[in-house]
């Protein structure tokens, strides 16, 4: 039986204990590296006073909105570019360009265009996700197993049958395989967008903690973000396992 998770948990506990011990013996400056219990206390306060909820709600709305829009638009554009050479000719250079630059640099531009509300965060999450999904679908369709295409063709299937039986299942598999990456990008977009300019959200809270030099609050928020993303990763993993059962 594999007890790796027990060892990992024990390792984490030892690390936290050493960290706490070092902090209590004055070996760490709490201004820069607060003790784990101080971070836990900041975390508890956030939840006990309920201040975290509107921020969590804002970040979730931006990340999930951007993720959904990015998945849909990225898939549609990827399929169109793979099947229509003219669309590929026009779209591929733009996507390559967008992929070449760190897309978070667009955050200030989105604030100017869309304001400091939810829309600019959704837009940043969207652009991060859409480019990744576009390339996943575009290259995936172009590399689809030719034997399966020939099989459907020789069984008398036309374009619709090819789309339904070969391309759509292949695209679903590629997207689900990249869902965790997309989720990571969506939250990056939402948090960075909030960090640049916002009145709510985990990114805004991080920015606030930074401006007040509150390292304990900052690490508490980082912990919240990590836990949230890990939970969504687990959900994405479950979905992948369930929908791609044929892959084993």
């Amino acid at each position: 039986m594999n007890h790796a998770w027990v060892r990992q948990l024990a390792g984490l506990a030892v690390f936290l204990a050493v960290w706490e011990g070092a902090a209590r013996h004055g070996m760490l400056n709490p201004l820069y590296i607060p003790a784990p219990l101080a971070i836990a206390s900041a975390l508890l306060t956030l939840f006990a006073e309920g201040t975290i909820w509107p921020h969590l709600e804002a970040t979730f709305a931006a990340a999930l909105g951007g993720l959904a829009a990015g998945l849909v638009v990225g898939t549609v554009l990827g399929v169109a570019a793979a099947l229509l050479p003219l669309v590929a000719e026009l779209l591929e250079p733009v996507m390559v360009l967008l992929n070449a630059v760190p897309r978070v640099v667009l955050a200030p531009l989105f604030v100017i265009w869309l304001g400091i509300g939810l829309a600019s965060k959704v837009a940043l999450a969207f652009i991060l996700v859409a480019v990744v999904i576009f390339f996943t679908v575009f290259t995936g369709i172009r590399q689809v197993d030719r034997r399966l295409v020939e099989r459907i063709t020789t069984l008398g299937g036309g374009r619709l049958a090819l789309l339904r039986e070969v391309y759509l299942p292949s695209v679903t598999a590629w997207i689900l395989g990249n869902l965790k990456v997309a989720v990571g990008f969506a939250f990056t977009g939402a948090v960075v967008g909030e960090f640049v300019a916002a009145t709510r959200g985990l990114g805004y809270l991080l920015s606030f903690a930074q401006s007040t030099f509150n390292a304990a609050l900052m690490l508490a928020i980082v912990t919240v973000i990590m836990v949230v993303v890990l939970l969504i990763f687990a959900l994405a993993g479950w979905l992948e396992h369930r929908l791609l059962r044929w892959r084993g």
Partner: protein, 248 residues
């Protein structure tokens, strides 16, 4: 009836195959053998309509829906269960879902796959997958079966069993078959007639051997028939001469 007349096939300027002629009559099992690179598979792909001819004619009295094709790779859709793969062949022919599923199950039973219909291709052995592919083709009640080294990836025992299944069904249903193989023994044991291709490029059909073995045929017993060994020797010598002449 299938008639290939003076067929020339090329991938570039130099023809792979030149002026090849052969015929497959109703309920006749014909094999095409030859060295690697002689254009065996190319000829079959041309008959399947997957390769354009640069000269000659292909006359086929069967409608596209009456032709079954079996490749070396089983090319089953990995996201469809075994019975769904078989039913798909029927559904693409216009058969209603329920009827297609019932026919698919009965064909899987006939080919010894009882109880395995709900499995995905990855959960089946190579021999079982090949049987599913065979069921997919035979369920469509083809009048002409085109096969490109369908058993090449199977081990000897499984190969003999699947071949026997095929021969039994082909004999019972009066299906015409054109088989491409590099295995001379297999060609003689299964066929009524064997064509030999010379070494490519510019390969030609250099000989035609009627196989005087009785039907119904047991593919293992056929090898012990008095007419088998002399014919195999003749075929072997002719093929060796073809390859030897090129090497010399």
């Amino acid at each position: 009836m299938l008639r290939v007349d003076e067929l020339t096939l090329a991938y570039g300027v130099v023809p792979v195959l030149e002026r090849a002629s052969l015929s497959v009559d109703t309920a006749q099992f014909v094999s095409l053998v030859g060295p690697s690179g002689s254009g065996k598979s190319t000829l079959l792909r041309a008959v399947m309509g997957l390769q354009a001819a640069s000269g000659g004619r292909i006359e086929c009295s069967y409608a596209p829906g009456e032709i079954g094709i079996l490749f070396q790779d089983d090319a089953l859709l990995p996201w469809r269960r075994a019975e769904e793969n078989v039913a798909l062949g029927l559904r693409l022919k216009g058969v209603a879902r329920r009827e297609a599923e019932a026919v698919a199950r009965s064909w899987l039973d006939r080919l010894g796959l009882n109880g395995l219909g709900r499995r995905y291709p990855r959960e089946l052995s190579g021999g079982q997958r090949k049987r599913v592919a065979l069921a997919q083709v035979l369920a469509r009640a083809p009048q002409l079966l085109l096969m490109d080294e369908p058993f090449a990836a199977l081990d000897a025992i499984v190969r003999a069993r699947v071949s026997q299944d095929l021969v039994r069904l082909v004999e019972a249903q009066g299906i015409s078959v054109l088989l491409v193989t590099h295995d001379l023994e297999e060609a003689l044991a299964l066929s009524d007639s064997v064509y030999l291709l010379s070494q490519g490029p510019r390969a030609r059909i250099t000989a035609h051997y009627p196989v005087p073995l009785p039907r119904p045929r047991d593919v293992m017993q056929a090898r012990t028939h008095p007419g088998f060994a002399p014919l195999l020797e003749r075929l072997w010598n002719d093929l060796s001469r073809e390859v030897g002449e090129i090497a010399a």
